[in-house]
Symmetry: C2
């Protein structure tokens, strides 16, 4: 009943919602550009006012660079609290270099889309949650759940100050679930619930041969070439079936469940078209799994960078003194990054030929660093993040699915992402919270490119969905209590 009133209010306020989106998009809050720090702050202030207008206690939290907008509204007695995460900063947009059709900070509505930097990433998606909160506030005296908003201004520069702040404010941020809209639907007309993200283990492998580069004629044949040794190892980290040949790599991998394989198989996906888009002659990967299964739910090991010896034009007959590679593993539930790291170390130990020294650790100072820097031991604390998975049995996942179904008028598909969203891990690790990932964008929104857009109808559906999510969370909690 109250939900109906809220949805009606959202319907009535379509124009205002669009107008306010345009307002926010006009502020060039490019977090990486120092000369725009004041614009970033203007956007923070704009969001703070909007959240205050939605009945929250809202304030700016100062950090070493751009402020976090924090807002809260207490939960009705016995009700759960939803923590909404989003960001008000945007990627740079260079109209000259990147080929924008229109000035990136002068929003234009055309063909049902709104075009501007930040439209999809993340101002439009984030604002859907602010508008939902205001609709509840104005049409029903407040939502049936407690609300906390953490809207940061440094997402596009790696969120350097968010983690420490979250870690230092566990009590303040206590909640039941995190809601994030900073991703995509599967396709137009196919809303999605992203229930899994892969984790990451990023390392560097260095192989040291002779103290100096040697003449490959005079010395070739006397010593192990470190570039050869590196390739020997890296070339054996996958088997003939495309599986990662690291000791114990799959020991704790949770198999895909039948419903997942069915769900992914039912999604429209064309391998040939995908290969053509990427410019590869064929898709290749772990045998026995579809492309979507491989990128979303199977662990991988990729060489991200490779270096050693002479890289200039033409020929130089050098036997390099060292060679190295940057490697990353995408992890899936229930792989433990520390165990994978230990397995990788054992595997390298086994595969590395004699006659060289090697080091494995956190990514180092780069190929062009000085000899001393290159030969300094790598830190034994590589970047590592476990995968995250929202269990299908989670009441919050069910609440999100129902909200999306009602808000978008279509059951969501359950998808995963092959990437890693660091903030999801921050909330999990520091606050113990699961996140529901409800993408209101589309894959062709061109988020970091020119002519970024957001489908306006999806923006309005997002407002409805966010409002419905508050009601569904409250209902789920009530059902459990009852």
């Amino acid at each position: 009943m109250r939900t109906e009133q809220v949805l009606a209010a959202i319907e009535r306020e379509r124009e205002r919602h669009e107008r306010e989106l345009v307002e926010l998009l006009r502020i060039p809050s490019v977090s990486t550009e120092p000369e725009r720090a004041q614009q970033v702050r203007r956007a923070a202030e704009w969001v703070r006012r909007a959240l205050a207008d939605a009945g929250c206690q809202a304030r700016l939290v100062e950090t070493a660079r751009h402020p976090i907008v924090y807002a809260e509204r207490p939960a009705p007695s016995g009700r759960p609290t939803v923590l909404v995460y989003g960001h008000y900063d945007v990627q740079p947009a260079d109209p000259e270099r990147d080929g924008w059709s229109r000035p990136p900070f002068e929003p234009v509505i055309a063909g049902g889309n709104i075009y501007a930097r930040g439209a999809s990433d993340d101002k439009g998606q984030m604002l859907a949650w602010v508008h939902a909160a205001r609709a509840w506030h104005q049409a029903a005296g407040g939502p049936p759940v407690g609300l906390k908003f953490v809207i940061e201004g440094e997402e596009e520069i790696g969120s350097p100050n968010l983690g420490p702040w979250i870690a230092a404010h566990r009590d303040l941020l206590a909640a039941d679930v995190v809601a994030i809209s900073d991703m995509d639907q599967f396709a137009p007309g196919m809303p999605a619930l992203t229930y899994g993200l892969r984790g990451l283990l990023y390392v560097e492998l260095r192989v040291y041969g002779p103290a100096e580069d040697l003449h490959s004629g005079i010395y070739g044949g006397a010593v192990m070439n470190p570039a050869t040794a590196l390739c020997r190892v890296l070339g054996r980290l996958h088997d003939e079936r495309g599986r990662v040949a690291v000791d114990g790599f799959y020991d704790e991998v949770r198999p895909l469940e039948p419903w997942e394989r069915e769900m992914f198989a039912a999604l429209p996906h064309d391998d040939a078209r995908y290969a053509a888009e990427l410019g590869v002659p064929a898709l290749v990967g772990e045998e026995g799994y579809s492309t979507l299964e491989r990128v979303w739910a199977r662990p991988t090991l990729e060489v991200n960078g490779l270096f050693g010896g002479f890289q200039g034009p033409g020929a130089k007959t050098v036997l390099p003194g060292y060679a190295g590679a940057k490697l990353s593993m995408r992890l899936v539930p229930d792989q433990d990054p520390a165990k994978v790291y230990a397995g990788l170390r054992r595997t390298i130990e086994r595969l590395m030929p004699p006659g060289v020294r090697w080091d494995l650790g956190a990514p180092g100072p780069g190929a062009t660093a000085s000899g001393a820097a290159r030969r300094a031991p790598l830190a034994q604390s590589p970047e590592a993040a476990p995968a995250v998975l929202l269990e299908r049995s989670s009441p919050f996942a069910a609440a999100a699915a129902r909200a999306i179904a009602a808000g978008f008028g279509r059951e969501p598909v359950w998808v995963r992402s092959g990437g890693t969203i660091p903030v999801v891990l921050l909330f999990k690790q520091h606050l113990g919270l699961d996140a529901v990932l409800m993408g209101y964008g589309l894959p062709d929104d061109n988020k970091h490119g020119p002519d970024e857009k957001l489908c306006l109808e999806d923006f309005h559906r997002g407002c409805r969905t966010s409002a419905l999510f508050f009601a569904e969370v409250a209902r789920a909690a009530g059902a459990r209590a009852g």
Copy 2:
């Protein structure tokens, strides 16, 4: 009898020979430094006068950069002609940066050595041949052989103008053998005859994956990583016994003969000390061969450069669009570079995993070239040079061995070099001539480093040896004629 007179003259002229060496070493004929072009010419003129003084018709041959000194003296009727090659240009010498103990162009004699840039490489060694010619001219009315001198001024910059000139002057340069002293004895008191050089085949292998670098989270698992594919191939180009696993690679390799293995084994060589000097934990190479056998007389394949993806400091989760390697093979008799190249191509074809495109050819424009340049096809004409070997049965080899034995008072050891001396190939390919390589230097002469030196007594022994070589070549020819 005449030879005795010539040797006596050389003994008498020791002081003059040293004085003239000092004179020549005072001229900073650094061929790579444009501001020293006049000094380079001064050195050429100095050498021309010295050769005229030795009874030769001597002149400067102009080239696009530094002149070649060419001199000749006709052979006595029915006698063979020796073509002496050397160079009067020197490496740069930066006293500040490189840490010279004394100004590099102010020669100093100390502890039996003469210290100056070019002392060993190649002014001192080359001058021994000029002095030998003059001694024959002055003490015996001329040598018992015809002489041709080709003393270039561009050796240290890759001899860009020598090859075309030789190719265009085959009649002028017709001779019976080439003599070169631009290398080392095996050790102090161990004069050497270098009878073999390895050849070279230098190529680049490029592996192309997606059209652009991809995000390794979003796409990792969907496509073959070109860096992984490259390592897979490169890591399989050697087998477990350290042999090169390229199709047909050893088919035409001439085995080491028993006398060679005995000769090399008898040489003083300490693997542990050699490993320590190079800074490697152990020496590694083809099983069943000693270190000297491996670097001198066995073919190798080395990765000279390796590149792809992100090489900077820290981490970047990129799935690279391409990866590449520069590879060189050192060839031995009787490998044919064209057949080795074809075998390498077949091997790569067999080892390369699906899902990538690749190219093999002459070394390309380098890792940092533009995308278009990087994706242009590699030229199908890689740098290739066969190995050279002076047969032990060659009368010129025997003549050189006898000359060294008499000149140095000790039988030479027969050694090979793992490197490639391009001018030796020029004379072989254009004139059909074998070269005798008679090193008067020592391995610790620091030829391209600070405080370059030449042992003065070896310089005098070199003068004697060169003079004796003329007599031995004449005697060998007479023996054949008789």
